[in-house]
Amino acid sequence: MAGTSYKGSEITDVDQFINDEDGLASDREKEIGQHIGYRYDVNLVPDYDRITPYLTRYMETMGWDDLNWLEDIHMGYEEGRPAVFDRNINGWVSIPEDVVMPDNQQDRDMVAREMLLKFQMSPNHPLVQLRDAYRKF
């Protein structure tokens, strides 16, 4: 019966979804062949001691005292690769393979924030083409 118990598994290791692409731990996940739940802790708040110079410059430019919407951005994992979710394209953006992954989630989250921001601010971002095609004003 739906809605009576949590059928997913807990995140136990920072490299869990790199080492185990499928992420099937609980009985239910193995039964259906699908991971249940997020592949990162959505409630983890950022450690500002680990902020990068690029992110600091972004905060200053926007006139914010903290990371604002980027507090919700985390390094996730898609098909066994580190990736960050871009809400503007509703899809995952893979982290380039030459980017070295730090050994903890807080530093990885800062890498994800910087990578996502650079992607969104790039003229190559798909939203630039969509805007040109569909904008009304």
Partner: protein, 281 residues
């Protein structure tokens, strides 16, 4: 037979049963290519360049267009006088900008924004900052129902009290309220954080999927699948920093706050269940 005909029509219309596995799109991007910190289409505005709009004789549409024109001219600080509680003012601003409203806003004020810092010196009606993506919105007095509906990011602050269904369907960001909140606050919340320095009404966090709710006062009742969490040091540090930012830190600190999280009993999304239901039914 009728079902088969319906299925045939749906196929003719281009609808098919398919596994929802997502689509890949290859976009060539190097992180070294971009050092921008604003969107490529953003207006280049200067916070030190300031102007005013008196909207006593303007419609909301005229004001929204005027704001855009002023951003195009490089104005980074805009003061709106006499907003007169009219609806849908200051919506769809996708730019860095400081904007101040000297008065109150009606329904759906400051919705769909991505970046600006907004200050409202009066009250706001229903659904203030709905679907907000980024930026800060600070309301000095009270707010109506569905404050921050479907907010996705940024800080939405009300220094007074708010109505019911605050942050319904919240998908990110922080909603911070100095006073009380009404019934069904955090209904279907998916992620992000809410902070209430006062009391919360009935069915707090009903059907919440994820995210965190902090309440400094009394909670009338919890909704389905909302459970108590343990307030840890990271939470305390975050609460203290965030409340200080907006001069809302209670004199007694944050240790008395109650933390509410999802019980995860409603986490039932998997590809097999629709098939199981078909077999059962």
């Amino acid at each position: 037979m009728a079902g088969l005909e319906t299925e045939g029509r749906s196929h003719d219309m281009g609808l098919h049963n398919e596994q929802l596995s997502g689509r890949k799109m290859q976009t060539f991007f190097s992180p070294d290519d971009s050092e921008n910190v604003v969107y490529p289409w953003a207006y280049d505005v200067d916070f030190n360049k300031r102007t005013e709009i008196d909207m006593a004789d303007l419609t909301p549409t005229e004001v929204n267009i005027k704001i855009r024109e002023l951003m195009a001219e490089g104005y980074g600080s805009i003061v709106i006088k006499n907003p007169g509680s009219r609806h849908s003012i200051g919506v769809g601003i996708l730019n860095k900008l400081n904007i101040t409203y000297e008065g109150s806003l009606g329904y759906f004020g400051c919705g769909l924004i991505d970046g600006p810092n907004v200050r409202i010196n009066g009250r706001v009606g229903w659904s203030c900052a709905e679907n907000m993506m980024a930026g800060t919105v600070v309301v000095e007095k009270n707010a109506g129902s569905t404050f921050g509906a479907a907010i996705r990011g940024g800080d939405l602050v009300c220094k007074g009290s708010v109505g019911s269904r605050t942050g319904i369907d919240q998908k990110g960001g922080s909603i911070i309220v100095g006073g009380d909140t009404g019934a069904l606050t955090g209904f279907m919340m998916q992620r992000g954080r809410m902070v209430f320095c006062g009391n919360a009404g009935k069915n707090l966090g009903d059907s919440m999927y994820d995210g965190t709710i902090f309440v400094g006062g009394e909670i009338q009742s919890l909704g389905v699948d909302a459970v108590h969490g343990e307030l840890n040091d990271v939470d305390r540090a975050w609460l203290t920093r965030k409340l200080k930012l907006y001069d809302m830190l209670p004199e007694k600190g944050v240790d008395h706050f109650t933390k509410i999280v999802a019980g995860r009993q409603l986490w039932n999304y998997d590809n097999l269940e629709p098939h199981e239901k078909k077999i059962v039914l």
